[in-house]
């Protein structure tokens, strides 16, 4: 009986999203060798893929601006990288973004959004709503993906922009793609 329940549950659960695998493929094709990140649930599948990849170095940061500096160093040494972060971490990066801006270095940032579509936690709102404006104020070219199908082409476009024109570029992956958490529901369980 337990088995039947498990199978029913399996049937009921939606298929795993494929966009994290698309991002992985695009970043590999772009020649990314260093992956710097502060974890976010929205990036967990992509982080696992890089963790299992012996050709890329996955570096966990204590704060996101470390990644901006690290990838500038990587570029000086001839390697391409990506910074994976949550929108709240964009705020930590602001002054450090001077570095790729003034040096014309590529920087690819993939930002999973909070404080966005369906947010339940009021504390996420200020930085979430300020994310795009903050990045643009620092000269980062920002594009957004708000449907699963839009993620791959948007990341591909930003990667090309960053690595071919030597500029900082960020992709904001909206909460509509990631699914909004509901802690109130979790608290009831």
């Amino acid at each position: 009986m337990g088995e039947t329940t498990a199978r029913l549950k399996d049937k009921a659960s939606p298929p795993l999203p494929s966009w994290p695998d698309d991002i992985y493929r695009i970043l590999k094709e772009a020649g990314v060798k260093q992956v710097a990140m502060v974890p976010d649930a929205g990036h967990s599948r992509l982080i696992r893929a890089f963790d299992a990849d012996p050709e890329t170095r996955l570096v966990t940061l204590t704060t996101e601006e470390e990644g901006v500096a690290m990838l500038a160093g990587a570029w000086l040494g001839g390697q391409r990288g990506v910074l994976l972060l949550q929108s709240s971490g964009v705020g930590n990066c602001i002054n450090m973004l001077s570095l790729p801006a003034i040096c014309h270095m590529p920087l690819l940032m993939l930002v999973t959004m909070r404080g966005d579509w369906g947010e339940f936690n009021p504390w996420q709102i200020p930085m979430g709503q300020g994310t795009q404006a903050s990045l643009e104020a620092m000269g980062v070219i920002v594009t957004r993906a708000d449907t699963p199908d839009d993620v791959a082409p948007t990341v591909w476009g930003a990667a090309n922009l960053a690595f071919n024109t030597w500029r900082p570029a960020a992709v904001l992956i909206g909460q509509r793609v990631l699914g909004a958490k509901n802690f109130k529901e979790l608290a009831r369980k």
């Binding site: 690290m70 160093g73 990587a74 000086l76 040494g77 990288g81 450090m96």
Partner: protein, 199 residues
């Protein structure tokens, strides 16, 4: 022979760290460490920072990972290192054997009026590096010890952290090129060859 109680002079320290530098790659933190490294001789293999305070140690990590066959030396100040103190834990986890971080500790924010930093009140950066997991971490008070750190840079058994206690003297600035594109391009061209110009 240096008296063990006399504080070291920063330009002498940097000249010794860079003696017979070979093909080492150098990141200099903003402010006086930038001017010190430049006073020792402007070089294509230097990346002297003019801003982005807190960047030096992590730039060193990214560069060391990208160029595992080259030795990377970060020379920065106590204020700059304090701003990115968490990076010591990140570097300890990654264990880049080709990275040395030398902090010139004058216990002051030198560019802004010589206000005291936390190290003036006892914050021990060498102890913090050790506690973060960087096993080779030294406090340096004599030129003999500076020479030992200079040799460690070239040995590649890092990561190495060195806290060099220096005199809070204000010296004449020696400025490298200020433009970020010039600094980036000449560094990449030197390390990667002309290919760097074509992407």
């Amino acid at each position: 022979m240096t008296s063990p109680n006399a504080l070291l002079h920063r330009r002498e320290v940097v000249n010794e760290l860079l003696r017979d530098r070979g093909d080492i790659l150098v990141i200099a933190g903003l402010g006086a460490p930038n001017w010190d490294v430049s006073a020792a001789g402007d070089h294509a293999n230097n990346f002297p920072l003019w801003g982005a305070m807190g960047a030096a140690s992590m730039m060193g990590l990214g560069l060391a990972l990208a160029q595992p066959k080259r030795k990377v030396l970060v020379i920065t100040g106590d204020g700059e290192m304090l701003m990115s103190i968490g990076s010591l834990a990140t570097i300890a986890v990654e264990k880049p054997s080709n990275l040395t971080i030398a902090v010139l500790d004058n216990e002051r924010f030198g560019e802004t009026g010589m206000q005291k930093t936390h190290t003036a009140s006892g914050a021990d950066l060498a102890g913090m590096a050790l506690a973060a997991g960087i096993r080779t971490s030294h406090t340096v008070r004599t030129m003999e010890q500076v020479s030992e750190i200079r040799d460690l840079v070239h040995q590649g058994k890092g990561p190495v952290f060195a806290l060099v206690k220096i005199n809070p003297e204000a010296l004449v600035f020696t400025l490298p090129p200020a433009d970020g594109v010039i600094l980036t391009t000449r560094f990449r061209q030197s390390v990667l060859g002309d290919e760097a110009l074509y992407n």
